[in-house]
Amino acid sequence: VKKLLGLTLGIISAIGGFVDIGDLVANSQAGSRFGIRHAWVMVVGVLAICVYAEMCGRVVAISGRPVFDLVRERLGPRVALVNLTASYLVTLVTLGAEIGGVALSIELLSGTTYLLWLPAVALVLWLLLWRVKFGVLENLFGVAGLALIIFLVAVFRLHANWSELAGQARHISPPSGENWPNYWFLAVSIFASAMTPYEVFFFSSGGVEERWTAKDLGQSRANVFIGFPLGGVLALAIMVTSALIFYPAQISVDTLGQTALPTALAFGRIGLGLAILGFFAATFGAALETGLSAGYTVAQYFGWTWGKYVKPRQAARFHTVLLVSVLLGFAALLTTIDPVQLTEYMLMLSAVALPLTYLPILVVANDRRYLGDRTNGRLANALGTVVMVVVLAAAIAAIPLMVMTGMGGY
């Protein structure tokens, strides 16, 4: 029973924890401007993260070491340094965006500007990272993030025209009044939101924190193959609600308040409250994960003691990186940059850095020295290679699309 409970909690956390500020922004923007013509991108993104998260889980369960510890050993310190630099920068920008998302959620509840909430959010975030156990951090916000199910229910309450939605989903092209560069800009954003690099750092290092062994492969795979797709369904529901309310009126979404509005129209204040609670949990949970991921990547590269399973005093350098990362993310927001805009930049930066994150995973997952007879099979390698081609295409296209569209503006 205890094992079943653990499994269920893991899956629930994976569902609730799948959505973060990137998913909230990219999916609602896409829904408002293109209907659900990007639904296929979310499907591809979920499939891609499942393929690589499964590899990460397997590497951890068999070798007992996180993937990026092995990357440095397998590819050498120089290549790993390039990897570390790109990954850390993207994770840092993501951390800033998530902190901003938490503060914006509180503003939607309180009516007081998010800038005033930033110091409190950063302080509480750091305190939780310092004092609270890993399991609590992982599960509490993941479970609370399930409040986002309100978007799924709202799809039905808003009387969706299913045949029209199906028609949009079948059209892999922009509607009249929009152009191809903007279509692909948002496609890359959605793909990057599903595959944000910190997700695999956290998943991989979290496996070590929870002391996974080969016996835990089943739980790892259940989290990945049940939790992530169901999390993807929540992200898709956000796109659909946005498509139902804003797309017909040709209103573009560019605030978190607009993302929540369809739930209010469907269920009134209760719906709105649940949506904002979901935003808060999703962004705070992701802020914790990105904060930890920043510490994991740096500490694993330099071979320091790391993790929440040791006391902070024993992993002082790891905790210093956590503190500095939170401060840097907080400082970025003090420039008064709009957190939604920061998220848009973060998604494009993530897209550029994706190959640096995912290619080493493919390499390590094929290395018999670490995985013995549990290396990638033909299917995993075939899917991994196809995903890598998509990842490379997204990375190459990201910057030109940013320039051509002026960040998806026009």
């Binding site: 503003e107 939607l108 509840l109 309180s110 009516g111 007081t112 500007t113 009044g177 309310i245 009126a249 040709q250 209103i251 573009s252 979404v253 560019d254 605030t255 308040g257 607009q258 929540a260 509005l261 209010a264 129209l265 009134g268 204040r269 709105l272 409250g273 904002i276 002026g406 503006g409 026009y410």
Partner: protein, 152 residues
């Protein structure tokens, strides 16, 4: 020598990038640039006004909370003010763009004023004043939508 060869492509790439960015930042505005700036401003204005309208209607139906409505209105007001500032910062380059300025400028100013009136009505707590201010949003949204249809 080996190091120089190693780094040379990076230096060349940086110089080319610098030159491209420099050209893009300093090139004079043409009709296309002006139209793009005008359409972006009109889109921002339309999004803000329409979202404010939906939100305040929802509030009158008791579907959203006061703080949510206030926050949404604040964001809408900032967006319209920003759109106006962006639009005013670009000078027209010919007769066509001057006509565009004369058409969009007053609409954006109306949007700023109407959103201001709505915020004031919300602050007063009077549903009647809010409903009155809300009635002014629709025509402004229609004007912005018309401008977008014509110029996008």
């Amino acid at each position: 020598v080996i190091r120089l060869r190693h780094w040379a492509p990076l230096f060349v790439a940086l110089v080319v990038l610098w030159a491209v960015v420099g050209y893009l930042l300093t090139k004079p505005t043409d009709f296309h640039d002006y139209r793009k700036a005008a359409v972006q401003s009109a889109e921002s204005g339309y999004n803000a006004v329409s979202t404010a309208e939906i939100t305040v209607r929802a509030q009158l139906d008791d579907k959203v909370t006061g703080p949510f409505s206030k926050t949404t209105l604040d964001w809408a007001s900032s967006a319209v003010a920003g759109a106006w500032k962006q639009f005013a910062g670009v000078a027209p380059v010919d007769e066509a763009t001057t006509a565009m300025r004369d058409e969009l400028g007053p609409i954006l100013l109306s949007a700023v004023r109407v959103l201001g009136d709505l915020t004031k009505a919300e602050d007063s707590g009077s549903p009647a004043a809010t409903a009155h201010a809300l009635g002014q949003l629709g025509p402004v949204a229609d004007q912005l939508s018309g401008f977008l249809e014509q110029h996008k």
